[in-house]
Structures are given as C-alpha cells and as structure tokens.
C-alpha cells in the first residue's frame, strides 16, 4: 500500500534526476537568501553552479547544530517571516534551543511525508490514531497529527503524560494505532498491567515509535507486551520532524528515507569523508524541497548505514538501518566506545530483566567506571543472596563479553529508575571532562 505510489516507487534514474534538479535549485536559494550559506560557500570558494551531479554534493561544507545555535533564532531561515506559518524548536539540553520555521508548502510536504509514513507502517484511512507524541514546540505531536489527518484517519491528539487516562482512552475510544516514544510505550504497558488491563483486549494493531534510539530486542518486548506490530520511525526537527524515514511493515528491515525530499549520505564522523554503501557512520541529510529552513549537508549525529538494495515493499527509496546511537551520546569508557542501545540489547536478552536501566559513568582517580543499574522484578527476585549475586555477575559478564568494557551491575528496587513520558534518560555522566 502506498500513499503516493508514483513518487514512492519512482525508478532510481528518475528519482536521482529529480534530486539533482531540486538540489540545484535549493543551493541557488540558500546562496541568495541565507547570509550564512553565502559566507561559507564563498569561504570554500564554491558557487552553487559547480554542482552538476549528485556526486558534487560532497564538495559542499557541512552544516552543524552549532551553526544553527549561532544563527539563533531565525538566522538560517531562507524565507521571509511573513511566509513562515509555523515555528518549532528542539529541546536544547545545552544552551539555546534550535529553531526551525515552516512555510505553508513545507507544512503540506511534511504532512504528505508523514501520511506516506503512516501507510508504510500499515495504517490507513479509518484508523483511530492515538498520538501520544508531545504537542508543542517539539515536532513529534503536530507532525504526526497533520499526517494522520491528511491520511483521513481519526486522530486523538492526546499528547504525552497522564498515562492512566491514556490507557482508559485507548480502551474506550478503540485506538488502533499508537504513536509515541518506544520507552513510553513500555511504561504504558507497565501501568496497564498495574491497572489489570491486558493489551490483548485493546484494538491496537500498529505502534509507530521514534524520537530515541531503540533495539531489535526492545521491539520484541514491545510487540509482546502491547500486542501490536512495532514500527521504527525517524525524524529530527532540524530536517523536518517525524516522517523523514520509516520502516515498511512488509519488511521491517531498515527505514525508507523519502529521497524525493532529502538526500542522505553516511560519513566518517572523525574525518568527514563519505563512506560507501553499507558502512556505519554518521547520517548527513540535505533537504531539497524545504523553503523555510533548507539545510545543506546537515550533520545529524545519528549513527546508521545506508542501503540502496530494492525492498520487497516496492519503494525505490534507500533505507537507513535502525539507529545504533548518536555520535554525541556515544560513551567512551576507558577507550571503549559504548552506545546505551548496545547495553540495552544485552539487558533485554537476559530473561526477567525489565528494559528499565540507567548507566552511571564516573571517574575514580584517572579511571572511568561504569555502573549499570537494573531493576529487580518479581520474576527475578529470590530470597537467596547467591541467586541475586549471580544475576549481577551475569550482567557484568555479558557486557564485558559483548562490549569489552568492565562494569558494575547494581540491582535496584523496582520503579526507582526514572520513567520518562518523552525521551528516556539512560545515562548519567558524572565525569568532568
């Protein structure tokens, strides 16, 4: 099933010709309208006209999150303010948020891409979409909302929080599709269980989860606990918001990135060199239809790989693999690179462990220490010390075996690890580096 069959299945030569044409006009637009791009292109001795093939994209400088902060709030906008109909901002964990603006056309493209994403995930007109992404400055809520309306589904704009009420509404309103962060879905499952509600009795069929990295094993856990098909969605406010890329329900192997609007590249985050198909590195995206805030070679900091292999669903658009972390939330512990999602995959693989964990990194003297806090569920609990100690040792050993990093596993009381109704916080880094 497609939302826009012609463009979703466009043969590659036609798709690439369209990309080049759109890229060239975007470059002209930013060079003429955004002082930042004129300055960086001029500094690199580049005129937009040098781009005569998609390969030439590599010659252009990157745009970073820092560039967006330096242009706070509207410095990178390429359209006059009277054409901007919507402003969003990303959560600024450090300093000012990054601000993005959308023209009417940007909003309608975003809605279409989100509607395509819903269809790819197996949703359709007639579905009741329970949208538990946060509404507000965060792009998640409104992004999914507009796409769901364009699709013709019934949207419940519930936003995040108030979990008991969410569960009641899902039950009473007959929600068929759930959109939220993967960690929040598991929190819902926990709350439902406490209320004595079985997801098997709900009508949910599909869950579309994103806004934070998650693992295959967490997917299995969600599918089992919520009794639905869990689909990974990708997006970031700088590029658009949710709906930049999505898994198709037919394959559930990699996320199709809508290449008629975005050009993806994978680079080595250290050197900035482009990496060949299939290699893991940092995802870089160029927007080629955006008017409000077009970005050239934006460094997403997300780590993934890219494949152009045909997909069984019939879409011709390239796929990125599930995000394995971010190049900036990667932890380096005694020289070993560790992504929280890798630890999560190990923990979920140990029977009886709940996927609620916290990683605490400290520096004792000159040595980094990693403590993994794991909640003791009823299923795990034993009245014998040796059984619990064996469990901690097993967690330590599996992490050491798989990742090569020594850690201390610490068992904590259930529900003491902070739950999040948005993006889960998984790491506390106490090192002052």
């Amino acid at each position: 099933m497609f939302f826009n069959e012609e463009f979703e299945t466009l043969p590659r030569p036609a798709l690439e010709a369209l990309q080049l044409k759109r890229l060239q006009s975007t470059l002209e637009r930013v060079y003429n309208n955004v002082p930042f791009y004129k300055a960086t292109f001029d500094a690199a001795g580049i005129k937009p006209a040098i781009v005569s093939s998609l390969e030439d994209l590599q010659k252009l400088p990157f745009t970073t999150k820092q560039d967006m902060r330096d242009s706070y709030p509207y410095g990178l906008f390429a359209a006059p303010m009277d054409e901007i109909v919507r402003i969003h901002a990303s959560s600024g964990t450090t300093g000012k948020p990054t601000v993005v603006g959308y023209t009417q056309k940007d909003i309608s493209i975003w809605s279409e891409l989100m509607a395509r994403s819903f269809v790819a995930a197996g949703a359709h007109k007639g579905d009741i979409i329970h949208n538990a992404y946060g509404y507000g400055l965060f792009t998640g809520g409104l992004g999914a909302h507009y796409g769901a309306e364009l699709l013709g589904a019934s949207v419940i704009p519930i936003s995040g929080g108030n979990t008991k009420r969410q569960i009641m509404i899902m039950q009473d309103f007959g929600s068929t599709v759930l959109t939220c962060t993967p960690s929040y879905s598991l929190f819902m499952a926990e709350e439902a269980q406490a209320e004595g509600i079985d997801f098997k009795n709900l009508k949910l069929r599909v869950g579309i989860f994103g806004a934070e990295p998650w693992s295959e094993s967490m997917r299995a856990e969600i599918e089992r606990k919520l009794n639905l098909s869990a689909i990974d969605i990708y997006g970031l406010s700088e590029i658009m918001g949710p709906g930049v890329a999505i898994e198709c329900i037919e394959a559930k192997r990699g996320l199709h990135i809508w290449e008629d609007h975005f050009i993806p590249e994978i680079i080595n985050p250290e050197t900035g060199e482009r990496l060949p198909e299939g290699e893991r590195g940092e995802l870089v995206i160029t927007t080629i239809t955006k008017q409000g805030i077009p970005l050239i070679r934006y460094r997403t900091r997300d780590i993934t790989s890219l494949t152009y292999e045909p997909c069984i669903c019939g879409r011709s658009h390239a796929r990125i693999t599930r995000m394995s972390g971010r190049s900036d939330d990667m932890l380096i512990i005694r020289g070993v690179n560790v992504f929280p999602s890798q630890i999560e995959a190990i923990l979920v693989g140990i029977e009886g462990i709940e996927p609620h964990y916290m990683l605490i990194v400290d520096r004792v003297g000159t040595l980094d220490t990693l403590t993994v806090q794991v909640e003791v569920s009823e299923q795990l609990f034993s009245d014998e010390i040796k059984v619990l100690q064996a469990l901690s040792r097993r967690v330590e050993k599996e992490i050491k075996d798989m990742l090569g990093v020594t850690c201390t596993a610490k068992l904590v009381e259930p529900k003491t690890i902070q739950r999040s109704e948005g993006k889960a916080k998984r790491v506390i880094d106490n090192r002052n580096l």
Binding site: V376, S377, E378, F381, S382, D383, E384, I385, L388, Q389, S392, K410, L411, V412, E413, P414, K415, T416
Partner: protein
C-alpha cells in the same frame, strides 16, 4: 510442617527498613521473626509475620518486590549440642541449609530455629524420622 516466610528486596539506602516496618505496623501486622541478609549494594529482609498474605499485599502496593518462600521451623532442645544433633542428621542425608535464623519466642522451653533447605520435603521427612519436633505455621504465627 511448612511455614510461610516473606522476603523483601531492599537497596542499601537509608530509611528502607524503617519504611517497611512502618508499612507493616500501620497495617496491624506483627513481626514474629526476622533476618536480614546483606551485601554492599542490597539486602534481603526475611520475615515471618502473623498475616503473610496481608503483609505481601501491602508491601507490593508500596512498590516493594516481595516473594514468598516455604521454610521449616524446628524445635531445638536448649542444651549444648542441641543444634548440632539436627545439623548432623541433615548432613548425613546431604541436605543443604541455605540459611537459618532463630525465632524470637521459645516453645515449651526449647529454642525455635527457622531453616531454609535446598530440599524442603526431604528435610521434613528426615527430621520427622529422627523425632525432631517441627512447628505448624498457624501455631508459629500466633505464638
């Protein structure tokens, strides 16, 4: 012959024991015997109370991880070698004691020891054959 014991997982942080005893006290539950096993990070509090089912449910309501285990309460003659005789009997039959602790009250002048065995049923048989006296749960809870 089996006695119900409840075990509670507690993190090593201040106030947890006070919290548990407060919850039990407010629920009108009387602690008959207890033992605390601890490591540097966590501990297990084992209790025998007058109303195990109620204790389990109020603790769970308050977010504690609780489980129930069957243990055996054995009367031990209050004289030198009294405990040794029991342990030697068990050793001959290769039954392991996972842990044990003393009960607060005496029973007919004898001490009462709570045992957790690796093979509870076999232990009960062996002790019965050797005429060691074991106490029923109901008697113990209300002693």
């Amino acid at each position: 012959m089996k006695v119900e014991q409840i075990s509670i997982f507690i993190e090593n942080k201040s106030g947890r024991l006070a919290e548990i005893t407060r919850i039990l006290g407010e629920a009108g539950i009387n602690i008959r015997a207890l033992s605390l096993a601890d490591t540097s990070d966590f501990g297990i509090l084992r209790l025998i109370v007058n109303n195990g089912a109620k204790a389990t449910s109020v603790l769970k309501e308050n977010g504690f991880t609780v489980n129930n285990t069957e243990v055996v309460a054995v009367e031990v003659p209050d004289r030198p070698g009294g405990l040794s005789a029991i342990l030697q009997t068990l050793d001959r039959e290769a039954i392991n004691v996972e842990y044990m602790y003393a009960f607060v009250e005496r029973c007919a002048g004898n001490a009462v020891i709570i045992f957790r065995f690796d093979e509870t049923d076999k232990a009960i048989d062996v002790l019965k054959k050797q005429n060691f006296n074991m106490l029923e749960g109901n008697r113990l809870y209300n002693m």
